[in-house]
């Protein structure tokens, strides 16, 4: 048994130590918001936060995540009110929607590290996430929107 802390909740999972965190989250903890896209860290659909850092859960062994703080898309906010979720809705970003858990989890780390990202900063941070529907321009727009919301929140504090 391996104990995992996902979205501030403890799970005991019966996993091989070499099982990728992705499958432990999806098949054993039953949280399906984190997606399988490529299995080889090429597409970013499986991005989750491990101790606040964006990691590709398809190539992160579950043993490495044991006892650490894991956040998945389900844990990003309580009421779909994270500024990125609001911005994604505002810019009508998703089409099929499959890649967007990973897109948003990557963007969340970017916004924390860089509250004023330029287009180039966004491209740099987000180029590990593939979107086959081609929503990239809207992803960029939504990140700018979220950054603006974040700036307004911090200036009104």
């Amino acid at each position: 048994m391996i104990s995992l802390n996902i979205n501030q909740k403890d799970y005991q999972v019966d996993a091989d130590p070499d099982m990728p965190l992705l499958w432990a989250i999806r098949d054993l903890a039953g949280l399906t918001g984190t997606k399988f896209g490529c299995g080889v860290a090429q597409c970013g659909a499986c991005v989750v936060h491990l101790n606040g850092e964006a990691v590709r859960s398809c190539v992160t062994k579950v043993s490495r995540a044991a006892g650490q703080k894991i956040v998945t898309i389900e844990g990003l906010s309580q009421n779909n009110d994270h500024r990125l979720q609001i911005a994604w809705n505002e810019a009508n970003v998703p089409q099929c929607g499959y890649c967007h858990s990973g897109q948003i989890m990557s963007a969340a780390v970017l916004l924390r590290e860089n509250p004023n990202p330029t287009d180039e900063d966004i491209d740099m941070a987000m180029s590990g996430n593939i979107c086959r529907c081609g929503t990239y321009l809207r992803i960029r727009k939504a990140i700018h929107l979220a950054a603006e919301m974040q700036r307004k929140e911090s200036s009104s504090r």
């Binding site: 994604w88 929607g97 180029s127 929503t135």
Partner: protein, 720 residues
């Protein structure tokens, strides 16, 4: 009681929709051409199974059905948006559910051919207006006032003179007893409050917090996870396999051979079933399989195109269409062009790899999955297992992309085979490698275009195309030409060019093909519109003016060209400023695009801007349309510049995204989409934005550099 009555009752019970409610749907009598509208009540008495899009409960809750797959194109928003308009309910107040597969309830459900709106909007408007009228009639009867004094708004009927109001929920019991009126009046477009508005998609919140359920997310009690090692050469048999290692992996429950019909061939593989996807994958890795592909041609990509060229140089092919005498004109012409264009094989590579959940239980089968054609899957499984269609339940989940691949029947069928073998519900997951290497693929094509120029204009065009014919996987008739080889080419050109012939030079290959977003137009568009550009250049004409001239007499094409010229600043561009244009037709919609390119300091070619004008006639949600065109352009950019499927010794060389390279956020140029406003009927949206792009790009490169690109994909970094 008739059998139909029992089935109707079962339908109500199993859907959980019993109780006082108004259903409206289309009953399609087998012999009738036109569907007729029936209410739930009439249907019950008549013993008919309904195809309800609208359900209004006594509690006033409105549930609207999306009968088509939601694979990104927005049916989950746009179908209800149509219904809500004529029904007079607010989008924010309705629930949306997916319809299960049923040809008898919904008519065709195939999400393909960009047909979700174009093929169903008229009947959805009619159906919704009929429901509204019945609710008004019921309210007027309750108040004992003329129906003409009542109107519907926001889910209520209001008596105008008195201001009295009934919520729809209070009216459904009475309304469902009424005969549906045949003379409802539909709103004018100018009266629309919901249609034509760029409303936010209702599925966005679900797709940003992890709650949208895709096929791969479906869970059923007792479900096991499976993966299949399939023949890497797409054909042939499992000669033998050793599962000793696989069975030692903790969690692995079953290992067995699977035979899967793919079109008219059999694909064999070995399935590993386990308690988690990972255990199944680990077990699969431990398998030792010997394949027997006797008789299968081990194809190599260079040979495919060499063969195409040989055929195009030596054969006339099967004539698809001919007007005038292009051969005679070409023979006597002093100025001629004779060129070959080539396009690659492509995989669909939707972000959600293929998968399907199934539960076979002898007298019933239930399937859940990312399925583009649930009615086809239902029919296929009923036939295979000799069941009645109502014994086969096909549930659509959200689709993580489809692009044509998920309209294919193999992966649900395979999931049922595996469930039957293990006698338990199962989720079969394809890896990315399976998804990319197993096909079916978009066929790679070669085209030979010959053109004669006289008096600075087109005297004759002769087109020959060589490439696999998708139809041959279903129909054995080799004597017919592939009738898709002119898809994409604007039909009005044929009115203004006297001598034109288009022929298919048959080419066969043992690799399965399938529709890929915009189908043959996705590759034809490049050839036809590159050639039109070459002809314009040879005639010394402005490429846009040249097209305008050969599309004269067609008002919608002329209006589209005017718009494209205006938004792209075409007239004020610098000579050889790197502008290219291309216009194609796909599923009834004309789309024109202008691409602007430039050289950067690093000598890499930049795509500075893309202007697109879409003419899809009547439309629902302009922002969804813009998104579809943006996405189509990105997909076309990938097929033109970053990825292709190649074969070596009968196997696909690209296994995953490190070799089958997708465009990424830093590759995307600014894209500006304009929608034509007119009174034409609705035509396609999801695909027509794709075909013109690659030619607009290569025509722009020619304008800037004088270099003509005739083979896709090409490397943007190696052009200049």
């Amino acid at each position: 009681m008739s059998a139909q009555n029992i089935s109707r009752r079962n339908f109500i019970r199993s859907s959980g929709l019993a109780g006082a409610a108004l259903y409206l749907g289309f009953y399609l009598p087998a012999a009738a051409k036109e569907s007729q509208i029936v209410s739930g009540n009439a249907a019950e008495n008549g013993g008919i199974e309904l195809n309800a899009w609208i359900r209004i409960g006594a509690d006033g809750k409105v549930t609207l059905t999306d009968h088509r797959a939601e694979m990104g194109q927005g049916s989950y928003q746009s179908v209800p948006q149509i219904i809500a308009e004529e029904l007079e309910v607010n989008m924010a107040d309705v629930n949306i559910i997916f319809g299960q597969g049923s040809q008898t309830k919904y008519g065709s459900q195939i999400t393909g051919g960009s047909s979700t709106i174009s093929s169903s909007y008229k009947k959805l408007l009619q159906l919704s207006a009929t429901a509204r009228q019945m609710l008004i009639t019921a309210a007027a009867a309750k108040w004992a006032v003329p129906a003409s004094e009542c109107y519907a708004e926001s889910g209520s009927v209001i008596h105008k003179p008195s201001g009295k109001k009934f919520h729809y929920g209070e009216l459904v019991a009475d309304a469902s007893k009424l005969e549906p009126p045949k003379d409802v009046v539909l709103k004018k477009r100018s009266e629309y409050k919901i249609i034509g508005k760029p409303m936010h998609r209702r599925d966005t919140p679900l797709k940003t917090n992890g709650t949208a359920i895709f096929g791969i997310d479906k869970r059923v009690d007792g479900m096991l996870f499976a993966t299949v090692e399939r023949n890497p050469r797409l054909r042939g048999k499992v000669k033998s396999f050793d599962d000793t290692g696989a069975r030692k992996v903790p969690g692995v429950k079953h290992v067995f051979k699977v035979q899967m019909p793919v079109f008219n061939t059999i694909r064999e593989g070995v399935a590993v079933v386990a308690t988690s996807t990972w255990a199944a994958l680990k077990g699969r890795r431990a398998l030792k399989i010997e394949w027997d592909d006797t008789g299968f041609e081990h194809v190599n990509t260079p040979d495919i195109y060499k063969k195409h060229e040989e055929l195009l140089k030596t054969q006339e092919g099967l004539s698809l269409s001919k007007q005038g005498d292009p051969d005679a004109v070409l023979n006597g012409a002093s100025k001629k062009i004779d060129v070959i264009y080539q396009t690659p094989y492509e995989a669909h590579a939707a972000m959600e790899p293929l998968n399907c959940a199934a539960w076979y239980q002898v007298d019933k089968i239930e399937v859940w999955g990312p399925i583009q054609a649930p009615d086809w899957v239902q029919g296929d499984l009923a036939k295979q297992y000799k069941l009645k269609p109502e014994q086969v339940t096909v549930n659509m989940t959200f689709l993580g992309g489809g692009f044509g691949r998920k309209a294919f029947l193999d992966y649900p069928a395979e999931a049922v085979i595996i469930s039957k073998e293990i006698n338990a519900p199962v989720l079969v997951v394809w890896t990315r490698e399976d998804d990319i290497t197993q096909g079916p693929f978009r066929a790679g094509m070669s085209y030979r275009f010959e053109g004669a120029i006289e008096n600075d204009g087109i005297a004759a065009i002769k087109v020959r195309a060589a490439g696999q014919n998708i139809e041959h996987w279903n129909g054995p008739d080799r004597g017919k030409p592939n009738d898709s080889i002119s898809e994409g080419f604007l039909k009005p050109y044929l009115k203004n060019i006297k001598n034109v012939s288009i022929a298919d030079v048959p080419y066969e290959m043992p690799v399965p093909n399938m529709w890929w977003r915009s189908v043959y137009a996705s590759t034809n568009g490049f050839a036809y519109e590159s050639f039109m550009d070459e002809m314009a250049h040879a005639a010394g004409a402005d490429p846009l003016e040249f097209r305008r001239k050969y599309l004269q007499g067609d008002e919608s094409c002329q209006a589209l060209i005017d718009k494209l010229e205006e938004v792209s600043g075409w007239k004020s561009r610098e000579p050889n400023g790197g502008y290219g244009v291309s216009i194609t037709e796909c599923f009834g919609s004309n789309v024109g695009q202008v691409v602007k390119v430039s050289k950067s300091d690093s000598r890499r070619l930049n795509i500075d801007h893309v202007w697109a004008v879409m003419d899809c006639g009547w439309y629902v949600n302009p922002d969804i349309i813009r998104a579809q065109v943006e996405g189509s352009i990105v997909m076309a950019l990938g097929a033109a510049t970053t990825h292709e499927i190649t074969f070596k010794d009968g196997m696909v060389e690209q296994k995953n995204f490190y070799a089958y390279k997708m465009p990424r956020i830093n590759d995307i140029p600014p894209i500006e989409v304009h929608i034509m406003e007119n009174t034409s009927d609705a035509t396609g949206v999801g695909e027509p934005g794709l075909p013109p792009f690659s030619a607009a790009l290569t025509n722009a490169i020619f304008d800037l550099t004088g270099k003509r690109i005739r083979k896709l994909p090409f490397d943007l970094g190696a052009v200049v």
